[in-house]
Amino acid sequence: MMVGEALLDAYINANILFCVAFALWFLIRGAMSRIGLKHAYTTQLWLLNAGFLAIISAPLLVAGFGFLQGNGVAKGVNVNLSDMVVSYYLNGGFEMKASDFEGLILMRDKFIISVMSAEGAFAKAVIAMFIVGVGLGMLRLGYSIYCLCRLVADSYDVRRIGRIRIRVSDRTLVPFSTRGFRNYYVVIPSHMLGQHHEMKVSIAHEFQHIRQCDLEWEVMLEALKPLFFLNPAYHAWKRQVEHLRELSCDSQVISYGRIDVRDYCGTLLAVCQQTLRRDRAFYIAVPKVTLVTADRTSMKPGKSLLERRILSVLSGRRIRHKRLVFMTAAVPLMAALVITSVAIQRPGDWSHDRLMLSTVVNLDRLDEINRLSAFGRIRN
């Protein structure tokens, strides 16, 4: 397989995996809600991050599985989805014309070959759309990073704690944190200097994001966003991470007991009110993790994220044995993702069932030819 084909194949697999992983995540979240773990936000965030890691390392997992099979481990095991469907079809699992079924099975191969050779209007349109989409996404990301760098550079150094730099800015209305190659930056709006409680809450909240490694995950999610711009599962995944990291951060900060719940909720409301003001450069700047943002885009009726956060903080629920719960849910999720990663690969060679299918298709074609007269008329 050529490098280009291999990359396109891996890209298609990653898109499929995001869809599958998001569906699995939904099932797991539903199950957790049913058994009273609805508020296990930290565990849910860990699960999403673990799932993300499994998806982006899927090519390595597949290579590892191939290596193990090559060395005699689970040699007879074939979990290739395409092969399984062919086998099911040949065993009479479902009715379909053999040539149509073969067309369906080879659809992905044909798509990859047609895109790589750029033949036909459809392939050209797909290539153009992808290049424009990714290009625009990269430009947007570049501009966002530039805005963020300027925002941080224009702020004023207040304090340094190890690799963390606390800065004050006139240009932002909402506290946020971000990171460079080496240092972390916690940026506080200058109006907060006169509001002791708000400042304390904001710093504690942003420090917790740094502790949770939320910035690293945000950098990764933002960096890959231009590549998966067409995948709704990716956007939904990112949104879930954004919501869960805030809910998790809130519960962790409150659990330390150093901040009053009333002060915390008051700060969330005050900062949210500030975000309702126009602050275009701030909205554009990524990757960053903010204390709170007003969700203007949400069209869904029901609780907003801010309302959920405040209710969650007020309820003060603590989940015990987070790691145990995480492992219990992560093991089946990871197993399902690894199996799916292997299952959705293009079959490496012609299996016995594929040869059979090809034979059936050829026999069908011969039969069709036999049914036609030499002058193109149907004999019977």
Partner: protein, 130 residues
């Protein structure tokens, strides 16, 4: 310390600068003592605000014993001019006449104040005519 160019003061910075203009110069404690009792600002917050003002080049500092003494580098009237120019540019489409018109049309302006404004304008015109 790296100086950053910033034209305008934020609300809390203006509060500090106002006190510093009134004092002429002072330490963090001097400025905090001048603020209203209910302001309840921590010493560290006050020190941070003055340090930012120094980075913005609105004040300079010199060490005296254990504390720093801050001195404004920009006079209050110079800042007032800068602030008005900014207001005129942003809110009055860069036409100072609109700004003055809005001010003069204010019903709360007394006749005495209007007279003073007229005297100021007359004096300026007389000076420019020389």
């Amino acid at each position: 310390m790296k100086k950053k160019k910033n034209e305008l003061l934020t609300e809390v910075e203006l509060e500090f600068m106002t006190e510093l203009w009134a004092l002429g110069e002072g330490t963090v404690r001097d400025v905090l003592d001048k603020l209203p009792q209910d302001r309840n600002l921590a010493y560290t917050s006050g020190a941070t605000i003055l340090r930012i003002l120094e980075q913005k080049a609105f004040v300079t500092s010199r060490k005296s014993g254990k504390s720093h003494i801050y001195t404004p580098t920009l006079a209050k009237d110079a800042y007032q001019t800068r602030s008005l120019k900014n207001l005129s540019m942003k809110l009055f489409d860069d036409t100072p006449v609109s700004l003055v018109a809005r001010l003069v049309n204010d019903d709360e302006l007394t006749e005495e104040a209007l007279g003073q404004i007229r005297a100021l304008v007359d004096r300026r015109l007389k000076n420019d005519g020389r």
